[in-house]
Symmetry: C2
Subunit: 178 residues, 2 copies
């Protein structure tokens, strides 16, 4: 899908609803991808995001070393791949190849963007104080991409053990909140 | 609605999908409520939750002082009240009264539970290291309550400026993930 750059000040609206995301990392030219949904916004602009990456995951050591990742937001069309990426380790296999995911070059970081995801956030780790204790990495989003045709993405929201809530209908209530 | 106690080990499944929540606090017998959706899970059991409570909010100073709150999870039935609670300060008014919310006594903390919310998590602040810098409070959920009749709660997921995604349909994909 063809994507355009997305304003950094609007990134919070993509993550605040709580979608499952695919995190890509890269080390020595080898890309990896993992599934996670323990994340939150920490600042509007520049957008800061907190992500828990368990130290039992292969991505944990790559992230500690390289301090770079891409947060890719998938939709229901690749639900099977999202779950599969969360169920195996990338230590001994190439999950891009195994699950037919297409990698696209990022512009600010080395890890690739996943073409099949409707949004991609290129990130740099800016604070590791909470890695000890909570495995919580604070990232700054350097550049964001979105598929402009995906007006109402059917994101996945994990409820545990492979049960997901799929993004439903739109509700608008007049509000002064950002 | 009549609620029963909910196992602490299952609490992550309530917050991981990213619902908007109502946070109640109390000081000197006066309860307050605010709306937020910048939160994430940090541990399964005992459940640890991270919540951003901006220092521009009245609840911020109460939370710093009392170290107690209840995370209440609302559904679409009270969407108007959820937005209203996010648009005014409790400094000079009683939002429970103003918006017709019913307070119920908690069992482990002083702040009340909101009767109209299908789930309530009684919490104590256990780590304030990230309050400076990110206004991020780490809470432990001490006791959880749920309406057992609400099998598929239509939670609200904020996309910015009063636009919400309402929890949609269920999707199950075989998975080894918790």
């Amino acid at each position: 899908m063809k994507k355009r750059e997305y304003p950094l000040g609007k990134v919070y609206g993509l993550l605040e609803p709580g979608p499952v995301v695919l995190l890509t990392t890269e080390r020595e030219g080898k890309a990896n991808v993992m599934t996670l949904s323990w994340h939150l916004m920490l600042e509007f602009e520049p957008p800061l995001v907190g992500c828990v990456v368990s130290n039992r995951n292969y991505s944990f050591e790559i992230l500690c070393e390289t301090k770079e990742c891409v947060i890719n937001i998938p939709t229901i069309e690749i639900a099977k791949e999202v779950v599969a990426c969360g169920n195996v380790s990338g230590r001994n296999q190439d999950k891009f190849k195994k699950y037919g995911l297409t990698s696209e070059s990022s512009t600010c970081v080395k890890p690739p963007r996943i073409a099949e995801c409707y949004a991609n956030l290129e990130c740099r780790v800016v604070d590791t104080r909470m890695v000890e204790g909570y495995c919580l990495f604070v990232m700054e989003v350097l550049k964001a991409w979105i598929d402009p045709k995906k007006k109402w993405p059917r994101t996945l929201h994990h409820r545990g053990y492979g049960e997901f809530m799929v993004a439903g209908r739109r509700l608008k209530v007049p509000s002064k909140m950002r």
